[in-house]
């Protein structure tokens, strides 16, 4: 509908200029915090107190990054957020793989092997997408204790899988609904079984939705703070919890450059995913939160 406004009168040209002006201003609003964060993270402390947010680093240094990674204090300990960064990966990778696999099989069973009550099953599971997690925190803490995995990575993986499958099932279910049933019916007539049909017919065309699901789960779990802070101990904390501890640890001089470097480190994995696969990220956001 944009070809509508292609008129080359001076007024129209002024309008175009104004349009670009507003769009660029908006872009500055979104991008500047990231720029400031990056610049602050490579300034020595003296430059921070002498200059302003937007003054360019005179003597850029990676020291704050090294400190944030390996030495900064997060609460009691002072060994940086590097270990917690790997903790996050150790939690995120299994949780994403397991929840995506379960979601794919659920979506497949719900669409290609409908049975009496399968819609009800879907509705039942879907509700898990909407609950505020505060309502499950206390029982979860006690259940993890009973299972003997409280404050462990295994416990956090379990929590993220349990509350992730509602979303992954939704993704795959909505995707598989759009795959024609003819092939599946033909294969069933030929006597192919449940898993064989999944493996040979559904899986080969599932690449896009697998990417959507993996990206969605990766960003959700990486960015999680609530479960991380409620169900982890010192050595099993995810990076978001460590970052918050680092920023709020009040010993000695506030090192803003180290804070910003730590924030960059915690943000990088999801930013990289976003830059590499933004299209799928957006698709997950809209599909994950809109369609029912």
């Amino acid at each position: 509908m944009a070809n509508v406004i292609r008129r080359q009168t001076p007024a129209a040209r002024l309008g175009r200029g104004l349009l670009y002006g507003v769009l660029i201003l908006a872009a500055l609003f979104y991008i500047l915090p990231l720029v400031v964060m990056l610049m602050t993270s490579v300034k020595p402390l003296s430059e921070i107190s002498a200059g302003t947010l937007l003054s360019l680093p005179q003597n850029p240094t990676l020291e704050p990054w090294a400190k944030a990674w390996g030495e900064a204090c997060t609460g009691m300990r002072c060994d940086g957020i590097g270990g917690y960064f790997w903790n996050s990966f150790a939690i995120v990778i299994p949780a994403v793989l397991i929840s995506t696999t379960i979601g794919a099989l659920n979506g497949y069973a719900l669409t290609k092997w409908r049975f009496k009550g399968s819609e009800l099953v879907f509705a039942l599971m879907l509700f898990g997408c909407f609950i505020p997690f505060q309502v499950v925190l206390l029982p979860m803490a006690q259940t993890l204790g009973w299972l003997g995995i409280s404050s462990s990575r295994a416990g956090l993986i379990l929590v993220h899988v349990v509350f992730g499958i509602a979303f992954t099932t939704l993704f795959f279910r909505n995707f598989y609904v759009g795959i024609p049933n003819e092939l599946v019916s033909a294969a069933k007539l030929d006597g192919a079984g449940f898993f064989r049909i999944f493996w040979r017919i559904l899986l080969p065309v599932s690449a896009p939705i697998i990417v959507v699901s993996v990206i969605w789960q990766f960003t959700q779990i990486w960015n999680d703070f609530l479960f991380g802070v409620a169900f982890s101990a010192h050595n099993t904390q995810p990076v978001t919890v460590a970052l918050n501890n680092l920023v709020n640890t009040s010993t000695g001089v506030r090192e803003y450059n180290v804070d910003m470097a730590a924030a960059m480190i915690a943000a990088l994995p999801t930013l990289v995913v976003y830059v590499l696969a933004g299209k799928y990220f957006v698709r997950g956001l809209t599909a994950g939160s809109v369609k029912g």
């Binding site: 947010l53 505020p132 349990v162």
Partner: protein
Amino acid sequence: MRDTLPMKNTSATPLGLGAKRVPSGSLQAWLPRLVLAPSVAISLFFVYGFMLWTFVLSLTSSRMLPSYDFVGFGQYARLMANERWWVASTNLMIFGVLFVLICLVIGAFLAILLDQKIRQEGALRTIYLYPMALSFIVTGVVWKWLLNPQLGIQAMVQSWGFESFRFDWIVDPDMAIYTLVIAAVWQASGFVMALFLAGLRGIDDSIVKAAQLDGASLPRIYWRVVMPCLRPVVFSAVMILAHIAIKSFDLVVALTGGGPGYATDLPATFMYAHAFTRAQIGLGSASAMLMLGGVLAILIPYLYSELRSRKHG
């Protein structure tokens, strides 16, 4: 059984699925249900069971540890009499309404502007949307730095010569709640833009062309013709944003820590503080149940209208 088909077709099935015929009826018929069973069990236990469990806890006098000494709705009564809870609820109203409205306005505005055959549209979109990929903790840390009165935006503008410039909301109990709005809008408005843009791209050009032939001006076309078509988008966006607002926890923790004092407490931080650090499990559970009530109050009308519109085609 369906053994009426010839038995010799096994090697040459069209998809190369080949191989054995599976005895139907028995295991195969139950496999889909077996595959779904663990998820259903998980959902029944971890979602519905836990909701019920929290509700039960909210009826007890539990403090440091869960106890099952029932006090009826006493905890809810305590909650209603708790000044901090009212601050948290009022904050959620202020934060929620402003956050949703501003995100909608900015999102719709940017989407309409971006829809005018813009060069570099992809790059701009990427920039508008990237904050959504960040953790709210990161957002909170960054904005805490930007809003720092001594070293942040206030200091910068003052150094440009505007000595009297004040922007110290983050340390002002009356204004701190608005810093949450700023940071949350920064994070989520690009996402609303993406929703609206997708909606705009889905609108049939001919409607707009027809309106143009009638001599309607562009703003008028958008307001009278295009926006009404986007009602479902507005609806979903409100739904998602309200949901984010009610669940907001990390942003508060990272940006203001609920302070100054408890001026920026939200129900989510109230619940966490009481259940996990202040040894008030009963009270914390009651507040969690009220949060659930809030989500349902938004969700049920939404689902209702969704189902209705589907039935009516």
